[in-house]
Each structure stands twice: as C-alpha cells, then as structure tokens.
C-alpha cells in the first residue's frame, strides 16, 4: 500500500481518524489554554498585588511550574487524580479499586496548570507596559475598580499580551502531545495506534508531524492577524 493510499480517505485509509485526532489535539490544547488564561490572570494579579504573601505565592507558582518537566505534572494529575477518585469511591461504598479519570479532563487541566505559569508572566509584563497615566486618568474621572478593570486595564493588557500569548499557545499545542501517555486519542496516540496495526510507523509519525506543522502555521497566522487588528489604533514608531 502506498503512502497516499494509507493516509487517504478510502476504505482502508487512515485519513479520517488522523484528522479527527488532529481535531482532538486542537480541542484539548484550546481547553487547556483557556484554563491557563483564567488561572494565569489570577496569578498575575497575585504577583502584582501589594501583599507580600500573595506575591511570594505567585512567584513560587511560576518558578516551580516553569522549572519542572511537563510530563511530571501530567503524571501527577493522572495518577493523583485517580487516587483521589478511588478514595471518593470508597466513601460511597465502592470497592476501592483503580478508578481511571477522564483523560480529556486530566489533559486540559494539566496543560492549563502549566500554561498558567507562562501566561501569568505574559499578563504581568503586559500590565507593566500599560501607561500609569491611563489608570490615573480613569481614577480621576471617578471610575470604580471593576469599571476601571473592564474599560481600561483589560483591553490594553490584552493588546500588549497577544504576541506573548501566541508563544504560550504554541507551547500548549506541543504539550498536548504529552497527553498521549494518559491514553487520550489525540494526534500522537492515533499515530501510535495506526503504526501498531499497519507496521508503518514512519508514515504515521511523519503525517502527525505535518499536521502539527499545519496547526502551528495556521495559528501563527491567526495570532499575527489578531495583533495587527489590536494595534490598528496605535501609531508605531
């Protein structure tokens, strides 16, 4: 069977499964990225706060999560999560055996927790790039904290954060390949399944690599568009 027959959409082709798996990769990476954005903005807020305790907690989080391998975090959530679920099952009268956790939730959570550390740094950097005078002006017209955040801080922080967020998104996308160790059928796992049943590992992993390249290229283009759009009101030096 030729390569194109193998990866085609015919009766024996693996085209559809591979495309579906690519969709799963994008889905798990996007969910993780959104979890990371939520958690990351909270951590950025902690790191920018005046309280010493919150600041050191935020610093600790980003230092630890950026200093240990992502694979360890995924193992922690996968095995730790199932241990917790087994314990809960025991309370409700279960046998206390191994309860497996949903792979998608574990994956999205693990990617989110890791990318939160990177996103926190991006948001913090973007906030410090914000002109002090803008906040003073908003306060002087009597905006309260929520309104100030919604109208002045959030839109501008987002504008300065877009290039950094693009980098973090690429990281999240590549981390999603590691989620295959939990058994979630994303691109890499699907390639492993395919090469196991056809004995053509190179064809499958090569296709996976090409699909990853397509996804990263499209997202680079998308983030560039978003950056251009967000900067349309700014004069560039």
């Amino acid at each position: 069977m030729s390569y194109f027959e193998l990866m085609g959409f015919g009766p024996k082709g693996w085209g559809w499964p591979m495309l579906m798996a690519a969709g799963m990769t994008v889905a798990v990476a996007s969910c993780g990225f959104l979890v990371g954005a939520t958690l990351g903005s909270l951590i950025a807020w902690a790191k920018l706060s005046r309280s010493l305790i919150l600041r050191s907690l935020g610093d600790g989080y980003t230092t630890v999560l950026r200093g240990i391998p992502d694979l360890l975090v995924i193992y922690l959530f996968y095995f730790g999560g199932s241990a917790v679920l087994s314990r809960v099952g025991q309370w409700f009268g279960g046998s206390g055996g191994f309860v497996s956790v949903p792979a998608f939730a574990v994956g999205a959570l693990a990617i989110g927790v890791i990318s939160a550390a990177y996103q926190a740094e991006v948001f913090r950097g973007a906030y410090t790039a914000l002109a002090r005078g803008e906040i003073e002006a908003a306060k002087s017209v009597g905006m309260h904290t929520m309104l100030l955040f919604r109208r002045i801080i959030a839109p501008q922080v987002l504008r300065y954060a877009i290039p950094g967020l693009g980098n973090v998104w690429q990281l999240a996308l590549k981390e999603s390949a590691l989620i295959s160790v939990t058994g979630l059928v994303e691109l890499l796992r699907q390639s492993a399944i395919g090469s196991g049943s056809t004995y053509k590992p190179f064809s499958f992993y090569f296709t996976a690599a090409m699909l990853y390249l397509v996804i990263t290229t499209v997202s680079t283009w998308g983030f560039q568009r978003a950056e251009d759009y967000s900067m349309r009101g700014l004069r560039r030096a």
Partner: protein
C-alpha cells in the same frame, strides 16, 4: 505525609540524575555545533543555504519534541533493512542514541536562532575597526565577533539549557530510566503520586537552580568590562607636587 518514605524515594530518584545530566549536556554541546552551522547558513547570503536552514528551524520548532523522538525511535524501524545494509541500525536500535539525536536536532533549531541573534547584535563599528586594523576574516571572527556574540547570546542560551534539562524527561517514554522514568515506575508500583511528584520536582528544581547559577557565573566572568572597577585610593602626596 510520610517523611521516611519520601527520603527513600528521593535516594532512588537520585540514581537517575547522572543520566538526566548526561543527556542534557551532551545534547546541548552537540546541538551548539549544529546550531552554529545553521546560523552560518542563515547569514551566508546564499539563498539555497538560507532557505534550507529556515526550513529546518521551521520544522523542528513547529512540531512537538515527542513526535520527533517517536519519528526517530519507532519511525525509522520502517526502513530497518535499508539501515541494516548501511550498517547504522545498531545506532537507531538504542533508545539512548535515539533520544540524544532527537534532543540534539531539536535544541539546534532553537539555539541557531539564539546564536543568530547574538551574531547580528555585534555592533557594525567594531567590525569596521577590526577591518581597519587589517584583521583577516578568521581572526576577526575569533577575536571580535565571536566573543561579543557569545556574551549577547548567553542569557538566551541559559534558558535553552533549562528547557533541555526539562526535555530529557521525554526520554523516559522510550524506556530510558532517568529521573522521570524512575518516578513513573515508582508511581505505578506504589500509587503515591503526590509524594513522588514532590521529590522528583525538587530534584529538577535543584538542577535548574544550579544551571541558572552556572550561567550567571559564566556571564559575570565574561563581562569584566561591565563591572565596577576596584576603587583606587588617591595618593595624598600627589597633590603637593
């Protein structure tokens, strides 16, 4: 939390540290050579070489490292007869060499951009001055361009080194027993994920802290011109001359 258990785990995990460090340092050292070649190709001014290097960087930065590891370790098995004929099968059969190859090729792509940035940051006036003194191209590179570029690129290279220490954990997926590999084995034996995670995480944090310190020391040693000069006390009698 069981401290005796954690101490025992910590000692077991420490056995993986030499392999982690060996993978990280050999891949960064070999990768630096490949990266230098790639950076030279980018700056050669020859379109063919430039695009070749661009393509390499695009592919290796745009795909996950784990895919590259699998492509080399499992993927090349598809061409086993051809590789055996060439006499290189023994190399691609070993998980250690496959992991090292993947890590080297991957770090080379990232490092070539760091090196290129460093080389391009060399002030033009410095090169003109060296030419005016009549330095040959090689001497100019060795004495002027390279030392300045290394100083510029060092902070970026430091973070690449940390990324590589973290990336060695992927070797555990192709059966290498470095720190993460041992941690995975211990977790599936004992199901005490939290304690083992804390111990393994601590080991990586210590390693990365030491790497950061090493790079900082190197930066300090390479930039004597930026340090405060030692204070020279004026000689009092000079005023009376």
């Amino acid at each position: 939390m069981d401290l005796a258990f954690m101490a025992e785990i910590f000692v077991k995990l420490l056995e993986g540290v030499p392999l982690t460090l060996r993978l990280a340092f050999s891949s960064v050292a070999l990768g630096a050579i490949v990266a230098l070649v790639l950076a030279m190709m980018r700056m050669s001014g020859l379109a063919a070489l430039d695009w070749l290097a661009r393509g390499y960087v695009f592919v290796f930065r745009g795909t996950p490292l784990l895919v590259q590891v699998f492509l080399i370790y499992y993927g090349l098995g598809q061409f086993r007869p051809a590789l055996q004929e060439l006499g290189v099968w023994w190399f691609f059969r070993e998980p250690y060499w496959c992991a090292l190859t993947a890590l080297t090729l991957n770090t080379a792509a990232y490092a070539s951009e760091i090196i290129r940035g460093g080389l391009q940051a060399v002030p033009h006036a410095q090169i003109e001055a060296a030419r005016a003194c009549g330095m040959s191209r090689f001497l100019l590179f060795r004495r002027i361009v390279f030392p300045i570029a290394v100083r510029q690129a060092l902070p970026g290279y430091g973070s690449e080194l940390i990324l590589m220490v973290k990336a060695t954990s992927l070797a555990s997926i192709i059966t290498m027993m470095e720190v993460t590999g041992i941690a995975h084995k211990l977790i599936s034996q004992t199901f005490r994920a939290v304690e083992i995670f804390i111990c393994a995480g601590a080991i990586y944090l210590i390693l990365n802290f030491l790497v950061t310190r090493l790079i900082q020391g190197l930066e300090w040693w390479l930039s004597p011109h930026l340090r405060q000069p030692p204070e020279v006390l004026p000689r009092p009698e000079a005023a009376h001359v």
